[in-house]
Structure formats: structure tokens, C-alpha cells
């Protein structure tokens, strides 16, 4: 499989606080990577560096052969179209209904025709099981429903990779399943995904690789079966013993 994202010597500091310390990794096309690790270890920052919502302090991000850390704002906008992102707090636009949340970027960024955008948004809502909620406003939906709309919204731009930052952490437990189901379907359809998560069941079942992050490094990585059965580093052992 060809490389989709290459991360080379990535570093990120906020003032004196160095959050990411020299990360070099590769994500291959079609892979599902689950990033796990303790709170404050830099997982969100890492994910946000990948689509340059956070500008790396040093190192390179190479997405399908193109280097991202030194390009213009306009090129960056173009690249972000191809990388979908889903946030812990959904971040739906409360001033428009569900279908317009999904259609907004295709209409304004891709300049799709209205009809085409509506049709596609309808399909995506169907795919996440929310076809009947198209005309509702986000704040009238449950958390699980909002997060599924957010996934549909990201998919509407036809991204080549999807970044998830703890998509189920803000949800009531009974809603976690419906979101994970959508993500699992997406993984099975061949989407490249990088998922920061605390859902170990999902990681075990869906991930091709687990990246264990702590103190700004990827301390350990491996196939889920092996990682969960036999963590090699003491940090990973300690982390797993706490959460399992």
C-alpha cells in the first residue's frame, strides 16, 4: 500500500511547553490507526498538526507527496478539503439545520450545484442513519446524533483521510455505540482513518495499528492483538492496567 501521510521529526511547543517531541511515523492508504494514551500526552495536538490547525514547530508532514508545513493559506485550504476531521465536541453550526451543515462546504468551497449537494447530503445522512433529521437544528438532536451529522459533514467533502479526536468522549454511554458503528462501517469501506480514542473495544476490533502516545512521543506501536496482549514498554503496561 502506498504512503498516505508521512510524519517526519514532528515537534510542537506552546511557549516553553514542548508537547510533541520528534515523532516520525507513516500512515498507509486504507489503514485505520488508533492513537491511545493518557490525558495531556499530546494526542489532540498531534492530530491537529496533521491538518495544520496547529502549525508544527519543526519537522514535516507529507500528505500524498505534498509537504504541508510551508505552504500558502490557499493551498492549505485545498489540502484540508481532502482531510476530514471530527471533534470531541461535534462543533456543528448551530445557526443552520442539519442538511445545511452538511451542504455548506460543498456549496461554498467546492462550488457544487445546489441540487447535487442536496442529493449527496441526503445520501450521507442516510448513511449515518439520520435521513429523517435533515430539517432539524443541531441543538435539538442528541449528542450521538450530532456526532453522526458531524461525520456526514466531514464526508461530504470526499476526504481521503478522516481524523477523529475522541469522537465519543462527550457522549452518554448509550450513544457511544451508534457513533462507533458508523465509524466501523466507514473503516470497512476502506477509508484511511486516524482515531484518537479511549474505546479499547473499538481499537481492538477495528484498528490495523495502535499507536501508544505518552509525554510527546509515540512510545510503542503494534497490531492491536499483540499490543493489548503483550505491551512492551512499562508505560503502556501501566496505562493499560489503569483503563482495562
Amino acid at each position: 500500500m502506498p504512503n498516505m501521510i508521512e510524519i517526519k521529526n514532528l515537534e510542537k511547543s506552546f511557549g516553553d511547553n514542548q508537547v510533541l517531541k520528534n515523532i516520525t511515523e507513516v500512515v498507509k492508504k486504507g489503514q485505520v490507526i488508533c492513537v491511545i494514551g493518557p490525558s495531556g500526552s499530546g494526542k489532540s495536538t498531534f492530530l491537529r498538526c496533521l491538518n495544520v490547525l496547529e502549525k508544527p514547530s519543526a519537522g514535516q508532514i507529507i500528505f500524498e507527496g505534498q509537504e504541508l508545513t510551508h505552504i500558502s493559506e490557499i493551498e492549505l485550504n485545498k489540502l484540508r478539503e481532502r482531510m476530514g476531521m471530527v471533534f470531541q465536541s461535534f462543533n456543528l453550526f448551530p445557526n443552520m439545520d442539519v442538511i445545511n451543515n452538511v451542504k455548506l462546504a460543498p456549496l461554498k468551497v467546492k462550488k457544487d450545484m445546489e441540487e447535487e449537494a442536496t442529493q449527496k447530503a441526503g445520501q450521507l445522512l442516510e448513511q449515518v442513519g439520520l435521513a429523517d433529521k435533515a430539517e432539524q437544528f443541531p441543538l435539538s438532536l442528541s449528542g450521538g446524533q450530532q456526532q453522526r451529522v458531524a461525520i456526514a459533514r466531514a464526508l461530504a467533502m470526499d476526504p481521503e483521510v478522516m481524523l477523529f479526536d475522541e469522537p465519543t468522549s462527550a457522549l452518554d454511554p448509550e450513544m457511544v455505540g451508534e457513533v462507533l458503528k458508523v465509524m466501523k462501517d466507514l473503516a470497512e469501506s476502506g477509508m484511511t482513518m486516524i482515531v484518537v480514542t479511549h474505546e479499547m473495544g473499538f481499537a481492538k476490533e477495528v484498528a490495523d495499528q495502535i499507536w501508544f502516545m505518552d509525554e510527546g512521543y509515540i512510545q510503542e506501536k503494534g497490531a492491536p492483538d499483540e499490543f493489548f496482549a503483550n505491551p512492551k514498554t512499562s508505560r503502556a503496561k501501566e496505562f493499560l492496567s489503569k483503563i482495562l
Binding site: 490547525l53 485550504n77 476530514g84 476531521m85 465536541s89 462543533n91 453550526f93 462546504a105 461554498k108
Partner: protein, 486 residues
Amino acid sequence: MKSKKIWITLVILIMMLLVPLGKVNAASDGYLQKIKDKGTLVVGTSADYPPYEFTVKQSGKTTYVGLDIEIAKKFAKDLGVKLEIKNMNFDSLLVALETHKVDAVISGMNPTPERQKSVDFSNVYYRGKQYMLINKKDAALYKNIHSFKNKTIGAQAGSLQYDLVKKQMKNNQIKGLAKLNDLVIALESGKVNAVAMEEATAKAFAQNNTSLKVINPEFNVDSSQTGSAMAFPKGATSLVQAANKTIAQIKKKNLINKQYIPLAGKYMTNNSKKNSMWNYWTYFAKGIEHTLIITVVSVFFGFILGVLLALLRLSKSKLGKVIATAYIEFVRGTPLMVQVMFVYFGIGAVIQSLPALLAGIIAVSLNSAAYVAEVIRSGIESIPAGQTEAARSLGMSQTLTYRYVIIPQALKNIWPALGNEFITLIKESSIVSIIGVGDLMYQMQLVQSATYKGVIPIFITMVIYFVMTFGLSKVLGYFEGRMKHA
């Protein structure tokens, strides 16, 4: 050698610019010719000073009358031009003259040496005594300037009387107000014990208000300082000469005593006969119209400019940030009244034809923009960062993000604050009355001086302002409710 020649030429040129041409040759100062060319003589006055100048309503229209106005009419006629009267605060008259907003000032003005430093005066056309107006019930107490130990005396700010009180009644408090009407109200309500004013004016007030009485307090008046004269821009010798010719004719025929004062007296009694407020509803209607025009236009431009300032302040451009911040802080740190005067007299000095209404609108818009900018900025900053991140992660540019995600949400949040600003403007715009814009506040002053009634016009004006602001807040509340449902 050559450079020396250039220097000499330069010096001569500069001297020619510095020396007012009128001093060299009276006929060629150009002032008189300019007025004849444009066909109109613009005269500034402060029309709250009967019998010199005041307003009456003639077939529904506000007309300026009084002995000064008659003189101005004759002067214009002698010049063969039309007369245009500009009404403003007494304090503003000389500034208006210096900044060429008016060609001449005739407003019962005394040619004091201080004033002569900044303007040129005609010969004195009328000399009255300096009187005082007191409450009738105090008639036994107050006889002359020495019977007012530790009392408060009112006088029009910037007037000769103010000066006299200050210099000759050192044991007294002095209260200076811009409008005689306000001083008379202060007298009636006991805020001041007497108001110093010119003889004819004092008599006019007493004649129309039975609770008041005039006394001659026997100020020690230097005759060179009393009397009324017309004022002209410094160096306008051709105008002064022309005015003196007119004044000489008036004096020869004794027109002031024989015609002008009796005529003014007739207007005054007419005024006081029909001084029911109902006769003046057109004044208030005009005032409401102007107040609304100023407010609506200023809200519109203030909003547009405010959005631009807010975006500039939030932009990445350092220079833009500094400019916007400096503007906002400066405007919020200075009184609207000063800004209004600065626009009218300052910018008006560069653009001569800037009408007072436009100047008022510009000043209020510029002022409002600063406040609106801050409201919008806080509205934008109140939108969670996640909204921007979500939009940017979809490939939306900064501009698209603002346009479709941030601004619509921010507007919804700040709608009440913007509505408040609108309501505030209705009230604050009353300040423009000082430059003679015919808003509600200004019309109120006209009605006061026309009817000799102080409090009732204030009360009516207050009620009108309240109805406007309350009505508007209801309308805004209705839309706010609808936006919440959207």
C-alpha cells in the same frame, strides 16, 4: 545670486499671504465681492434673545424676527442680495464667523476688546442698558448690585453681562448657561436669584411672565463696551464699510426706535397670546423628523463602519489593529459634543459648504461606529473556537468562515446590544442641536423662546423621546423574539 533672488521672491510671497489684503486696500479684500457674486448674505444669530432676535410661527413656518433681523434684512437689501439666517448657540457664533460658516454675525453682540481681537465690528447700532430680571416676590430684597450678598446670579455664557457680574459682583456665585430660556427657568425655580441681561430683553421677559420683574442694578458700564454691533471676519473691511453705511441710514431715520422695536414687540405679544403648545406641534414634528433622520442614517453608516473596524481590529495586520484600536479608544474617550463641534467647525473649515445636518450625521455616525465595533468584536469573540476549527477543517477560507459561520452567529448574539445602541443614538443625537441642526432638542429651545414657557416644552420633548425609544425597543424586542425561533 540666483538663489538669493528666489529667497527674496519667496519672502515677498509669504508676506503677501500673511498681510490681510484688506489692510492694504479696503476695496480689494474680496469679501463684499464674494457675497455679491453668490447673491446671498449668510448671517449667524442666536435666536433666543427677544426683542433682538427670536422666532415666530407664520403660516406654519418658523420665521426669524426681531430688530437685529430687520437690520440684517436692510443690510442685505442695500447690498442687493438675498438674506439667509443661520441660528446657533451664541457661543458658537464667532467660531462660525472665523471658519466662514457665516458672512456676518448679528446677535445683539457687544464689541468687547476681547472679541475685537478675533473679529472686526461695525459701528454700534443700538445701545441699551444692562438690567436684571428677578422674581417679583423678591422685589423688596434686590435693588442694585450691592443687595445680592452671596447670591447666585445667572448670565448667558460668553456674554457681556457674564463679564460684568464676574467683575463687579465679586461676592456672588455666577451661573453661566448657553440659553437665556434656561436661565429664566433657573430663576423661576430658585436656582439663581437674578439673571443679568440687556434692557430690552429683560423687559420682554417680564412683559410676558407676570411672576418676573426687571430692575436696573446700576452696573458700572464702560460705554465703549456696551451697545450692539455687527461682527465680520477679521480683515473684511469692505463689509464693515458697507454695514456702517446701512447703520448710518438706520440711525438717521431712527428706524430702530420707530419701526424695528415696535414691530418686534408686536411679534412678541402675538407669540405670547397664542402660546398654547398645540400651536407649536409643527416644531415638534419637524424635530422628530430630524432626530429620526439623523439616527437612522447614523445607525446605518455607523454599523457598516463598525463592522469594518471590528474586522480590522481582529485582523492579522498589525497596522490595521493599531489604527482600529486607536480610533475606537479615541472616539470612546472624547465627548460626542466635542466631536460634533470638531466635525462642523474643524472639517467644515476645509469644506466650506458642509451643512450642519450633514456634519451632525457624520459626527454621530463616526461616534457610533466605535461603539458598534466593540459590540461586534465582543460578539465575534464570544463564538467558540471550535466553530472556526470545524469550518477551517472543511477547507473553508478565513473569509468564508466569517461570512457563513461566525458573523451570522455573532449577529444573533449581539442583536440586543445593537438595538440598545440604536436607542442610545436617538437620545444622544440631541447633542447636534448645539450646531443648529433642527432636531427635537433644538425645536424645543425654539418653542421655549417663542412661548416664554420653560418647563412645558421640556416635558413634551421628554415624552416624545420616551415614546420613540420605548416604541423602538418594543419593535426590536419583537424581531429578537422572531430570530430566536429561527
